[in-house]
């Protein structure tokens, strides 16, 4: 799976999240969108739901990775902070799982 495909999955997950959000709480579908942490659109359970949706979309492509592994939790800079960092993080996990 290419990095652009990973980003597409993340954008789809944002769209799914937006379906459940009010008009004034919509998450911009963009690479620079802050997801979690300072100025992030997601609270902790919103992040859980979002990551679960992404994991399931990856599984639909026969890719089994856990986005909440120890490395993600121990990084000083969270890979969940914006779309770009999350895309890179998932791309790394996929390459490592090959």
């Amino acid at each position: 799976m290419k990095k652009a495909d990973v980003q597409k999955i993340i954008f789809d997950a944002i769209e799914m999240a937006n379906n459940l959000r009010e008009d004034n709480e919509q998450i911009p579908i963009a690479e620079a969108t802050a997801l979690y942490g300072n100025d992030g659109y997601l609270d902790s359970m919103g992040l859980v739901s979002f990551l679960t949706d992404i994991e399931e979309s990856l599984q639909d492509s026969d890719i089994m990775v856990s986005l909440s592994d120890e490395r993600a939790m121990s990084q000083t800079q969270s890979p969940f902070r914006d779309v770009q960092t999350l895309t890179s993080y998932i791309d790394t996990l996929i390459n490592e799982s090959k």
Binding site: M45, V48, S49, T52, D53, E55, E56, Q59, M64, S66
Partner: protein, 233 residues
């Protein structure tokens, strides 16, 4: 009961098998798992051989499950191990085994099932505790401590998963005549039963009654609860 997809751990024998057979007889799809081969023969039963304490095996189980089932309505964390030992004589290996299966197994299934559960209209998690927790039974320190951990997990998961409409509750059976307590001396069992309000051993039907209560759509406001059979508290 409308058709439900129910996952039961430890379904190859004892209480888990009884619960699995009950829901199969009521038209549900049951996914069972255990370390051993399952011997339930039913068109709506699917068995996975899994060590519930292995994060890799549990992750693979849910990966496979997602291909066959688009959602889960309930996860019943029934798999458990017990050991009667004076605390001072309990080997560290016994401690590890009990916590691996009872606590880590429950943790893994509660965590990995989230994606499939949140697609259900009435998602439920049911964990198994024991009356050994409130009765603080001598000789069961590690088993009771592991189930105390399960109870705390149950209450906190109830709060976090409430966001998704998932309820999480526990059942604390009084002694049920299954393999789990086969090694416990009869006088010990009698002593436990004596401490209950209802002084008899529980049957699988008593546990199933409570499982059904938690599964009812009307039970959507009941979460983070531990109900002990026999009135032990």
């Amino acid at each position: 009961m409308t058709v439900k997809n129910i996952l039961i751990t430890g379904s190859s024998r004892g209480l888990g098998k009884e619960i699995a057979e009950h829901f199969l007889n009521n038209g549900c799809n049951v996914i069972g798992c255990s370390r051993s081969v399952g011997d339930i023969q039913h068109a709506n039963y699917r068995h996975f051989q899994v060590d519930v304490a292995s994060s890799d095996q549990v992750a693979t189980l849910f990966f496979e499950l997602r291909k066959e089932f688009k959602h889960l309505d309930a996860v019943i964390n029934n798999a458990g191990v017990a050991s009667m030992n004076a605390f001072a004589l309990t080997p560290a290996k016994t401690f590890e085994k009990i916590f691996d299966v009872n606590v880590q197994g429950t943790f893994l299934f509660c965590q990995k099932s989230l994606g499939l559960l949140k697609k259900s209209p009435h998602p439920r998690i049911i964990n198994m505790s024991t009356v050994a927790v409130p009765l603080q039974l001598e000789g069961e320190s590690i088993y009771a401590a592991s189930k105390s951990a399960v109870e705390t997990l149950t209450k906190i998961i109830a709060k976090e998963y409430g966001y998704f409409g998932i309820t999480c509750n526990a059942i604390g059976p009084s002694p049920v005549d299954t393999n789990l307590i086969r090694g416990v001396p009869k006088d010990k069992i009698a002593g436990m039963v004596k401490q209950q309000a209802i002084r008899r051993m529980a049957t699988p039907a008593d546990v199933i009654n409570l499982v059904e209560f938690y599964l009812r759509p009307e039970s959507s406001m009941i979460s983070g609860q531990v109900i002990y059979l026999g009135g032990a508290s």
